[in-house]
């Protein structure tokens, strides 16, 4: 009996092994290493020296951490909900289309396939004051366009615009959710005299709640790690586009408005050689992302299938 159980266990393990090995090598080992290095003074080259909680204590004296946290929180608070609302809106519109739905789905989905660096470069040039076509068009209708990525007040909203343009991946998921709502519910509601808003609020939204939760959790995690677009936008908009280490000189441009937490983490680790401190920042970010995810999941158990 034990032999059978052992064989079954081994069979199960052998099927799970590729995934478990992947998780162990590419997630657990790096995570535990990061925890270890966060308690050390480490520069990637010399032997790490144990410094206890020093790196975590130093966060209190870090002059740029607060600015990075503030910018990242702004992105989480604005970008995540705006992107979800926008993607739901697009999905609702597409769901209503009788003709050309395939064409519009493709057109609206395509931007999400553009690599983020290329998309950011294109956006910065399109919105560039003076030479970009967007402000030129705005001028024609009598609007003095903002400085977009060159304005401390407009730089983050410009990044949000960029994110909205490329929200096709999320839109497709919402569209699947919206199309999956049983038509009979809408018909019954119509018979009861419900208008479009009532149907949306009382039928569509509750039906796609798990998708909204999924979008919120993945959106928060993605935004906490927001790096590429902020780095590239700062570099291109500053007019000092360059390669290699030089790029970090323009991190946060203009006036620190796009300086996100991961940009600071990268700068500290790979520019200032404080890999131990950078690991502590990474662990703090991981803990925050985990905590936010747990809170969101607990508040809406629908995601895990434990619908009330």
């Amino acid at each position: 009996m034990d032999g059978v159980r052992l064989r079954r266990g081994l069979t199960t393990f052998s099927f799970l092994a590729p995934a478990l090995i992947g998780i162990a090598v590419f997630f657990l080992y790096p995570l535990i290493s990061a925890v270890y290095f966060s308690f050390t003074k480490f520069d990637l080259v010399s032997v790490p020296q144990w410094v206890g909680l020093n790196n975590y204590r130093q966060m209190a004296d870090d002059p740029f951490l607060l600015q990075a946290i503030r910018n990242t929180l702004w992105m989480v608070a604005v970008f995540v909900p705006v992107r979800i609302v926008f993607a739901i809106g697009l999905a609702m519109l597409l769901a209503q289309l009788k003709r050309g739905a395939g064409f519009f789905r493709t057109i609206l989905y395509l931007p999400s396939l553009v690599p983020s660096v290329a998309a950011t470069i294109a956006f910065v040039y399109l919105l560039k004051p003076g030479t970009g076509p967007v402000n030129h068009l705005l001028e024609k209708i009598g609007i003095d366009g903002p400085l977009w990525f060159n304005s401390p007040a407009w730089a983050k909203p410009s990044l949000v615009l960029l994110g909205l343009w490329a929200c096709g991946d999320l839109m497709i998921i919402f569209l699947a959710g919206v199309l999956g709502v049983p038509e009979s519910l809408y018909e019954a509601a119509s018979l009861d005299g419900a208008n479009a808003w009532h149907k949306f609020r009382s039928i569509t939204l509750p039906s796609i709640r798990p998708v909204i939760l999924f979008a919120a959790v993945t959106g928060v995690i993605y935004t906490l790690q927001y790096f590429d677009q902020a780095a590239v936008a700062g570099s291109i908009a500053s007019g000092q586009a360059t390669v290699g280490a030089g790029i970090s000189q323009s991190f946060g441009y203009p006036e620190g408005s796009t300086f996100t937490y991961p940009l600071w983490l990268y700068t500290v680790g790979f520019r200032y050689n404080a890999l131990g401190y950078a690991n502590a920042l990474a662990i703090a970010l991981f803990v925050v992302a985990l905590a936010v995810t747990v809170i969101l999941l607990r508040r809406a158990k629908a995601f895990s299938g434990e619908e009330q």
Binding site: V47, P129, Q240, F270, R271, N273
Partner: protein, 438 residues
């Protein structure tokens, strides 16, 4: 007690031990006896691409001809972080060539690049053939782990046509003259916005970084004990006050709007090349851009103006650096290659001519062919000038410069009411950032 806890603790301990074990330990650096025949393959990683990478290939070929027992494998387009990671993982190249002197402090202090003194002493290489500024940015706390691979000297480019149109006879030599000329050269649109700017003084414009402007007043970055000096060196206050006065004359918002409309620094839309800015800070490498992209532009080059006329003639000097990885497979051949690339006058002169950077040895600097071009000679003169300054290497790389830059950006926008207090705070911030992770 949770039965799984011991297993989890075991796994954690094992991983930590594995992590520690995977971290490379320091290796003793022994060098060969004098006269030992050097042979084998040596791997060179550099960051250059295209025209400049072809120049490296040419000179490496010359090296292989003169050293038939050594074969060089060249990998182009390798940036500093790749080199650092490779060294950290135990697979560093024999020779690494970096574009940034910012890594000297890190590579010397961590031992990523080996101390070159034993090689220099054994082969009786005279480092005094390198000028003092170059020597200072290639060593850290007395340890020479790098050699200079050409240099950049920063000066001032000015548009001769616009100068003539504004009735200005020659380039300004003092900061006050620069202010006066900048005002004369500035043209505004009917709505008051800026059409052309004489000199764009913002610290985040092109090459206007504080390090590049510091020689104008002789401002120093660090004290003797390696702490920030921006709050105590009065020369910073002189520079910042001058800059802010000019910013205020233009209006910060006007300048920001104008700057946002300008093309990228390293494109043909460069504002100086397009005549949108009449005076600009830049280095000798701009000469090649001007020749290729705007051959008809009539420009002049001169040292950047100074607050004190006695300081005139100097500028900011920096350069590429080259060193031997601590885990080099063939350090002797690596040293032979470095010695050739950095101290062989013929090789250095050839590289300077091909890459269009300033050479670094006494004889190559005096090369008649390189000095024949008066514009290039202007940069050689800046390089040689005793008033020229560089940014000192530190173990935290450019942390002190980039932290100060954040302060400067706030200051120029008018968000720092008390300059003295702001500089004192900047000192604290810089010192704090320099010790992060310590």
């Amino acid at each position: 007690m949770n039965k799984r806890l011991p297993h989890a603790l075991f796994a954690l301990t094992a991983t930590v031990l594995l992590t520690t074990a995977c971290t490379p330990a320091p290796k003793e650096n022994k060098i060969a006896d004098p006269g030992t025949q050097v042979s084998g393959t040596v791997e060179l990683w550099h960051f250059f691409t295209e025209r400049e990478a072809a120049a490296i290939d040419q000179v490496v070929k010359d090296f292989e001809t003169s050293h038939p027992n050594i074969k060089v494998t060249v990998k182009s387009g390798q940036d500093d972080s790749k080199v650092t990671q490779a060294i950290g993982a135990g697979n560093g190249p024999d020779v690494g060539l970096s574009y940034s002197t910012d890594i000297v402090g890190k590579f010397c202090s961590s031992g990523a690049w080996v101390d070159l003194k034993p090689y220099l002493d054994r082969d009786k290489v005279d480092v005094s053939q390198l000028n003092a500024t170059v020597r200072s940015y290639t060593e850290f706390q007395g340890k020479r782990c790098a050699m200079p691979f050409l240099a950049d000297a920063y000066g001032m480019f000015y548009n001769k046509d616009l100068f003539a149109k504004a009735g200005i006879a020659g380039p300004p030599k003092t900061l006050d003259e620069l202010t006066a000329d900048a005002k004369k050269l500035t043209v505004k649109n009917a709505d008051g916005s800026l059409k052309r700017v004489g000199f764009l003084p913002l610290f985040d414009f092109y090459e206007n970084a504080a390090a590049h402007l510091a020689p104008a007043t002789g401002a120093k970055w660090l004290t003797a004990d390696g702490k920030s000096a921006v709050g105590t060196d009065a020369n910073w206050k002189t520079l910042l006050t001058w800059q802010k006065d000019l910013v205020d004359w233009y209006g910060y918002d006007n300048l920001t709007k104008f700057k946002a409309s300008l093309g990228d620094e390293f494109s043909a839309d460069n504002a100086f090349q397009k005549g949108q800015v009449a005076i600009n800070v830049d280095a000798e490498y701009r000469l090649a851009f001007l020749k290729d992209q705007t051959p008809d532009l009539k420009y002049g080059v001169a040292p950047f103006p100074t607050s004190d006329p006695s300081r005139y003639g100097g500028g900011y000097v920096t350069g590429n650096i080259v060193g031997i990885s601590k885990n080099a497979k063939n350090p002797e051949a690596a040293w032979e290659l470095i010695k050739y690339l950095t101290t062989d006058d013929v090789a250095v002169t050839k590289l300077a001519g091909l890459i269009k950077n300033v050479p670094t040895t006494t004889k190559s600097i005096a090369d008649p062919a390189l000095n024949a071009d008066p514009d290039f000679k202007a940069f050689i003169d800046i390089f040689n000038n005793p008033n020229s300054l560089t940014s000192p290497p530190t173990a935290s790389g450019p942390a002190y410069q980039e932290t100060f830059q954040q302060f400067l950006i706030k200051y120029q926008s008018g968000k720092v009411a008390d300059l003295n207090g702001g500089l004192a705070d900047a000192d604290k911030q810089i010192n704090s950032v320099m010790t992060l992770g310590g």
